[in-house]
Symmetry: D2
Amino acid sequence: MVGGGKDAFIGAIHRIAANADGLIELVCGALSINKDIAIDSGRSLFLPEDRIYTTYDEMIEKESRLPEGERMDFVTIVTPNFAHFAPAMLALEKGFHVVVEKPITVSLEEAKKLKEKLDETGLTLCLTHTYSGYPMVKEARELIKNNVLGKVRKIYVEYRQGWLSKLSEREGNAQAAWRTDPKKSGKAGGMGDIGTHAAHLAEYISGLKITELCAQLNIVVEGRALDDDGSVLLKFENGASGVLVATQVAAGEENNLLIKVYGEKGGLEWHQHEPNTLLVKWLDKPAEIYRAGQAYLSPIAKNNCRTPGGHPEGYLEAFANIYKSFAQTLLAKINNTPFQNDVVDFPSIEDGIRGMAFIDNVVKSNESNEKWTPHTV
Amino acid sequence: MVGGGKDAFIGAIHRIAANADGLIELVCGALSINKDIAIDSGRSLFLPEDRIYTTYDEMIEKESRLPEGERMDFVTIVTPNFAHFAPAMLALEKGFHVVVEKPITVSLEEAKKLKEKLDETGLTLCLTHTYSGYPMVKEARELIKNNVLGKVRKIYVEYRQGWLSKLSEREGNAQAAWRTDPKKSGKAGGMGDIGTHAAHLAEYISGLKITELCAQLNIVVEGRALDDDGSVLLKFENGASGVLVATQVAAGEENNLLIKVYGEKGGLEWHQHEPNTLLVKWLDKPAEIYRAGQAYLSPIAKNNCRTPGGHPEGYLEAFANIYKSFAQTLLAKINNTPFQNDVVDFPSIEDGIRGMAFIDNVVKSNESNEKWTPHTV
Amino acid sequence: MVGGGKDAFIGAIHRIAANADGLIELVCGALSINKDIAIDSGRSLFLPEDRIYTTYDEMIEKESRLPEGERMDFVTIVTPNFAHFAPAMLALEKGFHVVVEKPITVSLEEAKKLKEKLDETGLTLCLTHTYSGYPMVKEARELIKNNVLGKVRKIYVEYRQGWLSKLSEREGNAQAAWRTDPKKSGKAGGMGDIGTHAAHLAEYISGLKITELCAQLNIVVEGRALDDDGSVLLKFENGASGVLVATQVAAGEENNLLIKVYGEKGGLEWHQHEPNTLLVKWLDKPAEIYRAGQAYLSPIAKNNCRTPGGHPEGYLEAFANIYKSFAQTLLAKINNTPFQNDVVDFPSIEDGIRGMAFIDNVVKSNESNEKWTPHTV
Amino acid sequence: MVGGGKDAFIGAIHRIAANADGLIELVCGALSINKDIAIDSGRSLFLPEDRIYTTYDEMIEKESRLPEGERMDFVTIVTPNFAHFAPAMLALEKGFHVVVEKPITVSLEEAKKLKEKLDETGLTLCLTHTYSGYPMVKEARELIKNNVLGKVRKIYVEYRQGWLSKLSEREGNAQAAWRTDPKKSGKAGGMGDIGTHAAHLAEYISGLKITELCAQLNIVVEGRALDDDGSVLLKFENGASGVLVATQVAAGEENNLLIKVYGEKGGLEWHQHEPNTLLVKWLDKPAEIYRAGQAYLSPIAKNNCRTPGGHPEGYLEAFANIYKSFAQTLLAKINNTPFQNDVVDFPSIEDGIRGMAFIDNVVKSNESNEKWTPHTV
């Protein structure tokens, strides 16, 4: 693991998630750019002293020299955005698979370079767009893929947080500080941090690509350097249209991601705050409440549930689903075993590239007086 | 009453609403352009034979010749949009106050002419934007007016119906037929029918005017003559921004109007499907559930409740609140009595004019490649 | 109308409800035992001076001497419980149909006497158990009647209010005062006031009679003269069992009546606070959300909706449904017209008798050490 | 771990839960009474061959002979109820701490013997009443402990499942088979399986002991050997009263555990299906929505959250909280370090004894004609 020391947030989440299903074990780490924190964090995680590294290049270098079977199998990168590319590229160069926090890099160019390297090496990259790990999100995707709702017409995806309602980056909030710093976060603030999640969710569930967009980005809190709020009108490849909302100044909201998709025959609605429920609405009959853990779900949804209906699973399990799917894919690859890949999926380099292009195009649209900006990659 | 015969929808609603509080009585009507239906409808409503009219001009003419105290006090116009202006203008010319269904007319010009006549005569016009009649909508407005949430930053208003998901206007649905016919409905379809409700609600609750907009209108169902779907980015006078969604092709939705407003300190959320609840969210403390009928509400909200908490009131009561407020205002005017006008309000000609301008500007924006169109009146 | 003057609560509700559908008009009243209030109330309701009475016997006497067609058609009695019987009996004796607030009387004996008189005269009595007037309650009853859920096994009905959490009867709350006074309310407090509603709802929806019960009544607030809280285990005629909860000291609850019924194949759940939704749950497939105003509902449910789906109707409309059903029944009787009685129903003297027996038997069970008390009538 | 092989349900849950926080590692197991399954299960969990045991006595015996620091620290017992006591007792005799699935044993006597042994040895036993591991359950307990709601008056706890609506034990459902078999499950079926959870939750949150009860148990599905349904009237030590519902034949319910507690000033409501929300209701002000992960929560609630608000945690995290609390307690004990025990708790032998007494007393009450049975231990 690169990053994720004692002072970080998402690193701990990754460890719980990776750990959940007994398939993955943390074996080494360069857990902080601060040497003391790196060492201290490694010890508190019971890592062996000789595998607590203080820089990612040291880690990748030394691990790569260990015998096969002893060295790490893949690298997880949970540093701030600007520090994703270099360790990811080095890991790939040294033959390691990679898990990266989203957004994948700070620029589309970097993302494309990673893709080239992946194509060249045949290695696997997993991007942790957590929300597509939820079983009911996968069920939603299946319903649309199987044309249960008819041709998709409207897609609304909304992601509202309130935690940046104040200028917290000036009040010692480390999370807020790097996320609102263009040097560390990239071209966009909230649109990169959570807008990319929303765009990925919309494309994942609908199976449709965004083709054009019309964006308004705002810096709502005075003194902030990057957008903390934005709204985007969307057009999709099949003629459907929609709206994407991503805001971090919706005071009182926690992590309120929701999506509503409507087709010719019905619609569906999913809320991350109640992730085990998928509401399916119909033109001519009562709406239905699909629930995680139930026998009537699709195989891929069921494969991403650990417990029977009524035993709520949440964010950590969704995250764990991504790790589990990645691990199962790696194991199949490593052991050269056949693999039922229709019940296993996880976000990949392609999703990462689309995410970086989304940031680029949203920023471009925001600066343009033209209504529509093509969403090219 | 003009329009609202046996084959109509909204006329019956108006009658129940007007009737609810014992302040208003239906005394005459020109209830249909079809003479037989007009007479038949009048009889079934127990109107006296000599006050069942077959045209609105006959009605207004004859009623105006009745002695004061015997003639009707005001005219309610519930015809399709294109037939609002003429009877409204005639009524005003003959000295009658007017209640009109929204949208007020089919063009901004007509609406402005009505305003001139109102200014000239000192008569009162009430526009039935029903949704602002709900007590919890009034409570939301009070919370913002009293700065409880701090400066408003974001306004999201969404109105989703599914009843035009098919080409129902070709399948004998009379409601669908005139609403999708530009000659009867005006420049816009769904944006006029329900988008104006949404825009009014956003301005009513926030107390802020929309200043610029960026609209996308769609004809989703092939063969339809007017928009059945639209999304609009909004800017407000204080610098706030937002999104307005109005769609009638959200298959599986009933009459799903909702609004979310966020200020510096917190946010609020109201859903028309559960109108007795107003959710108030806070940055630093638990969200609160405000409920209709409770002692802690503002005076105007309480004045628009008929029952104690837990006895749900709905759409008809919201509608009745508009009639009651209008009636109380007229009574005070007629009897020249003092009037506590801070607990009584109803939508007026100004709201009607803003609605017509909204339709104009949305249509204009939709046709433009410029991102932003000013929302001038 | 007997009772329901300016200082009363339920009288105004009855008037709005009776008035809603244009079938019923208030023509006279003895609106208070206080002469001044009676007169003042009558005037404020625009009653003719000569039909504002100051006692119910004067009213019934004088009205009965008016010519047919001029005199009132029926009497509504909205006095406190102890003052139901006498005016009801007198009205029946003088040939008037009767609407009575629940509970029907203060004793089972009185209720039985009313039944004898009704049998003798062929007149009609309507008991306003409001909650069975909701369309989704009728839908629930139809689902069970049509065996959609299979044989009923469990019935849970819960009615929780919080308004008697303090000793409000000593603090000038007139509603609280008479309802907690055994002389005016009868043997039971909360169990009579709201427990009878709950019992009626359970029997109405399930179509099953309670046969045995085991009750615990409590006076939770010290100083109170009657029960303000109770729980009852229930057995039903088909072998089903259940629980009835009725409490008025659930601090923070408004008027939270809910019912859950389970059969062999599925269950249903209805909450009075969101009355337009009926949740239907299934053993092997997703739960369904039945909604008022929808085309798929049963004829009787649809007949009790005034608006399309998504235009919430509430308590006043449920109340109005009872009046409308009663009025339609009377009209058919008076006009001797055929009548589609499978879509029209309202609570009757039989329900009133069962309610009084329920109070008796619950009180008896509470005082007994035997676990089960038969629920005989 | 004793039990929990490949064919079991709860064993896997225990492993995920124990594993979640990096404090506990599975080191050995006697995972099934079937030797082949035991070995196969051990291998699939990557246990070393020499620590895959085929009987619990072999495991406890051999582990106890390993050097300190190498041998297991505690034993988890996840066998069917009848097979809890023997391994638990042996483990205690050999000096191992114990985690046991609930209900703790098949008889009160066994539970009391375990307590004696614990008192004698000073070892620690943890009983996995999962639901008290939820942070919002702990918050509820704190609110009551700190008298925020005033003196508790009413406690309603309801646990409804539907999975035994058919005679599944005859259809190859292994879970159903042992749970409905008196030899394996004990005196009670559903009341032991889920009623004890409900009783524990009520006592845990309220801080009050049940003192008397009046129970009705039913075998709803013909052919079943143990109760699959029951309702119990409750009295608590402070004079409060309540109702406990535990049913496994509520067709359409998943794992619907909920609790409502009312005090003098307000009430609270928690639903296991939406565990991150605690509704707090007030007599005179808006209800509040307390949410997991928020800064305003009590220290013990916060200590049992892993993620910020809006990142839903569920059943597995609640389970993990119990393991984490147990592990932290053990670590403090082992390392003899000071320990902030006001933010760490888990169910103990005392809870186990109360659970067994609850089963005894409910069964006794059900068989009695007396209304009230004392809940003595």
